[in-house]
Amino acid sequence: MKASVLEDEDRNTREVRAPRGTSRWRKQLDERASFLVACALLIGLVAVYGSLRKGVFSFEELNLDTAAAMTLLLAASGQTVVLLRGGIDLSIGGIISLGTVLAATRFGHHPQTAAFWTFLIIAMGLLVGAANGLIIAVLELQPFLVTLTTWAILSGVALIVLPTDGGSLPPGWMKFGAASWFGLSSSVWLLIALLLFWCWFRKTRLCLAIRASGSNERSAYLSGVSLIFSDVAAYALSGTFAALASLYLTTQTGTGSPTIGNGYILPTVAAAVIGGVSLFGGRGGLVGTIVGVFIMTMIGNLVFVLSVSSYWQPVVSGVILLLAVLASSIAEKSAKRNLLA
């Protein structure tokens, strides 16, 4: 108990408030510094990409890039909610792998079975997430460790279901990835739906509870927020989003893979952090994460256009991740200095 009180005091000192007398704008600027840096970076990357290649500013390019980014985007949306809660969800990788192998082996050819298993996969994500949240909250364990174990268990189950890449999906299923309405592909409509979801969700009591318990667990608890509920809800949302990401991924690849999800775990965290979501909880939003995901997509595009070795991609994303976090940590420090001055 003593230790947790000290932890909370640590958090209190980390809490940053603008001093009296500074303008509202300055306060906004300090709070959103890393998000604004990410936006500037994305604009810069798009500008460079646009100058290197023709036809970048077209619906076609938007459709292509959004389709490439959508799986990561869906998974990172769930990660964002968990990061706001002050946790981290590594089980996303296991849920994505298991989702794709279940889809590739169980969908068959009847639309009814496909619909049934779609429902089951989403329910699997939701339940696994809820279990994560419950274990973390009730046993007071570290999110990193608990979700690491569920990741191991789920990817083990995925390997048992389908030991190697393979399986197939009904042809109609893959049409969704290529479908478009009014010149915008299904992925762009999904992106719009995601933004609408966030516009609604960010104002809900649930989001407020998650954000509050992420920024200061103790005061959230004292204000009547149920920590168990906010944990279960945050991780259940993350699991559901990961399941949706796996379903979207199968519309793109047309196969199942028991290891494909592993490549998404850390990029989801990186995208959110680049977009200004704090790893300490409470701060950031889905719009930042979307910007972060598109920054990573743009880096991939640039590496391709410049036709340098694809091994540069991890190096560049690593450096940008570090710079983004450095920028936000410097912004935080300068805000603290203002507070003391």
Binding site: Q142, I153, S155, L279, G318
Partner: protein, 320 residues
């Protein structure tokens, strides 16, 4: 809280290890033979040495995700530098150990000076190293490991594998470092509460940098030993060690939140993971089942160590 309850996670890890050994002995006749035990302890040593640095970092309240490619880098470069000759090892091994420690120190400086969270800092360094090594080697596997290295990894002196000797020395050093030195006490203080530690005069920067440097050092050491063990370096050889090093620490009862733990527990964790892996062929299980078992093993052992568990099981007896 009495000593038994305090160390129940460590005791649990050893108990499960012994039970798994007995189970193996019952299922397959050769499981408890000297040669099989020797092979298993070799594999446990690789996990255990990587997890040594990880234990220090985690006790200090951090985590080192850069282990895989520090390990892989050391393995690749030792083979490249040595070119099948033993002579260059005399300078290559110390240089690469120092390079591993340097990468760790960079992690530590990044975390302590700029306030970047350990997960992000070490993750980014891992990714950058991965890209750098792939660029340097062009994605092609490196040359074979020189003979002297192979002797270090699989050779024996008086029936005892050399690696086990190295591991024993390191384990003794780690235990002394953690329990008898000021550095050890600083590390526990830092892991318990960085704020309190700083106000109490703990040299934060030096302690963090040292712990991460140690982790880089042990990862580089295992990289070179593994290159000797498998006869050559290959790309991606470090990846399994990210999960197993953290798992060994967690199973060994070290709190991932920092501030508590023992290397003694991590040793049990390394053995437990290795025995679990070698039980698979005997039990006729797939690698998927291994992952499930790994996950369950960690989940159960961290739940046993959880301070909330006694409160849940015996609500009336808990007095806070």
């Amino acid at each position: 809280m009495n000593a038994l309850a305090k160390h129940r996670a460590v005791l649990f890890a050893y108990l499960v290890t012994i039970l798994l050994l007995l189970l193996g002995g019952i299922i397959s006749p050769g499981f408890l033979s000297v040669s099989h035990l020797r092979t298993m302890s070799l594999l446990a040593a690789f996990i255990g040495i990587v997890a040594l640095g990880q234990t220090f970092v985690i006790i200090g309240g951090g985590i080192d995700l850069s282990v895989p490619w520090v390990l892989n880098g050391a393995a690749v470069f030792v083979s490249l530098f040595a070119h099948n000759h033993n002579q260059p090892l005399l300078w290559a091994v110390p240089v690469l150990l120092a390079a591993g420690a340097l990468v760790g120190a960079i992690n530590g400086v990044g975390i302590a000076v700029t306030g970047i969270p350990p997960i992000i800092m070490t993750l980014a360094v891992n990714v950058i190293l991965q890209g750098g090594i792939l660029l340097y080697t062009g994605g092609a596997p490196a040359a074979a490991a020189p003979r002297a290295l192979q002797f270090l990894a699989v050779g024996r002196v008086a029936h005892v594998p050399v690696v086990l000797g190295i591991w024993t020395l390191l384990a003794i050093a780690a235990t002394i470092l953690l329990s008898k030195t000021t550095f050890g006490r600083y590390l526990f203080a830092l892991g318990t509460s960085p704020t309190v530690a700083e106000y109490s005069g703990v040299p934060i920067l030096r302690t963090i940098v040292l712990s991460y440097a140690l982790s880089g050092f042990t990862a580089a050491l295992v990289g070179m030993l593994l290159a000797g063990y498998s006869g050559q370096a290959y790309l991606g050889m470090g990846d399994p060690y990210l999960f197993t090093s953290i798992a060994a620490v967690a199973i060994g009862g070290t709190s991932i939140m920092g501030g508590s733990g023992h290397y003694v527990g991590t040793i049990a964790g390394a053995f437990l993971l290795t025995i679990l892996t070698s039980l698979l062929p005997a039990l006729n299980l797939s690698s998927g089942a291994l992952q499930v078992l790994y996950g369950l093993a960690i989940l159960v052992s961290v739940s046993v160590a959880s301070t909330a568990l006694p409160k849940l099981l015996f609500p009336r007896r808990s007095t806070g």
